[in-house]
Amino acid sequence: MAAERIEDTIKKMMVERLFLKMKPEDIGDDTLLMEDLGVDSVSVFEIVVGLEEVFGVTFEDDEFDIQNFRTPRSVADYVRRKLASRDGA
């Protein structure tokens, strides 16, 4: 059985932590988090904490760049980079 896509894990985590009234599968990979889902800074902080808990990564302060949090796809790419550098270290 294929491992769950990181994008899908992220969507599930977001629906749960942000109490979004929608199913994870209804969120597109390129859905704009802020413009389409109304994600604000309080929610982004929840996402950061959620990502760290779910994926076991740590985000450094100087890695906080809004481009990484635009869509589920950009968040997933960011997580993949973090995992690669963690596991490659």
Partner: protein, 289 residues
């Protein structure tokens, strides 16, 4: 009688409920030329984000304005069920606040200062009370009916209900939905009585056409928006042409880099200073009814 500026706690009735507020009198005298009623935002209370309404009221008080900041029904220390508070109720409360200020000190001119949905409330009151001569609108939002449908759908989060579902076991939740358990405290706390789940009307909607009423506002208005406040910028995009179209004397200020609540102290200071100077600009106020 003269004295130093004082603030005191007050209460006044509105819609059968008792509202609480803080009344500021500039020098203890009962007759003050001008008064300002400050209106807080949807989920807040009379102090405003980072006490901006307290600080602004005190600055105004120091400049000779009578001030009243108060809690809308169901908010702050006022009476009322906060889960039922709607925009029309808030407008009624603010209208009564204006009446209370008039009664407490013989103000000649009344200004309304509102932040976020409090600014929308102020617009609602101005459309029905010709005695409101000035409006200061910080981060005014588009009214609900003016928001794009897409945005309205996306922002519906039944925060408390999903939260509660997580707190209860799956079995208990299923039984609750089937009516097999008595509705417990947590459920009621979050969604109110069962009938309250689907009231069919958004609390932030008015039963009246507030914009049509506002079209005949003949006072002057100051709109302030932060450039990094998407909802506020949307509000500005709606109100700017509207005021132009209807001949409403309005100035539109932008605070570069500011968010919806002006959390950066430099931005907050800019908003407050601009507001003070605008209100004190007597030359601009001639001709109001």
């Amino acid at each position: 009688m003269t004295g130093s500026p004082t603030e005191r706690p007050v209460s006044f009735p509105s819609g059968g409920l008792l509202l609480r507020g803080i009344l500021g009198m500039p020098d203890g005298a009962r007759s003050c030329g001008r008064g300002v009623v400050l209106v807080h935002g949807w989920g807040g209370y009379r102090i405003g984000p980072h006490r901006i309404l307290v600080r602004t009221a005190r600055l105004l008080l120091g400049r000779g304005f009578a001030t009243l900041r108060f809690d809308l029904r169901g908010r702050g220390d006022s009476e009322g069920d906060g889960t039922m508070t709607d925009l029309d109720g808030m407008i009624e409360d603010t209208s009564n606040a204006v009446g209370f200020l008039r009664q407490e000190c013989d103000v000649g001119r009344i200004a309304l200062l509102g932040i976020c949905s409090g600014a929308n409330v102020a617009v609602g009151v101005a459309g029905m009370d010709p005695g409101v001569s000035e409006l200061v609108l910080w981060s005014v939002l588009p009214f609900k009916s003016q928001r794009p449908l897409r945005r309205r759908i996306a922002r519906m989060r039944h925060y408390g209900l999903v939260y509660l579902r997580k707190a209860l076991s799956a079995g208990t939740w299923a039984r609750l939905l089937r009516g097999e358990v008595r509705i417990g405290g947590a459920f009621r706390a979050i969604v109110g009585e069962p009938a309250g789940i689907s009231r069919g009307r958004d609390l932030k909607d008015s039963r009246r056409d507030l914009m049509s009423a506002f079209a005949s506002f003949r006072g002057r208005a100051l709109f302030v928006t932060g450039t990094l406040d998407p909802e506020g910028m949307e509000g500005r995009r709606i109100f700017m042409p509207f005021c132009r179209r209807h001949g409403i004397r309005a100035e539109f200020e932008l605070v570069e880099g500011a968010d919806h609540s002006y959390y950066d102290p430099a931005h907050a200071e800019a908003v407050v200073e601009r507001t003070l100077s605008w209100l004190l600009d007597e030359s601009a106020s001639g001709g109001t009814r």
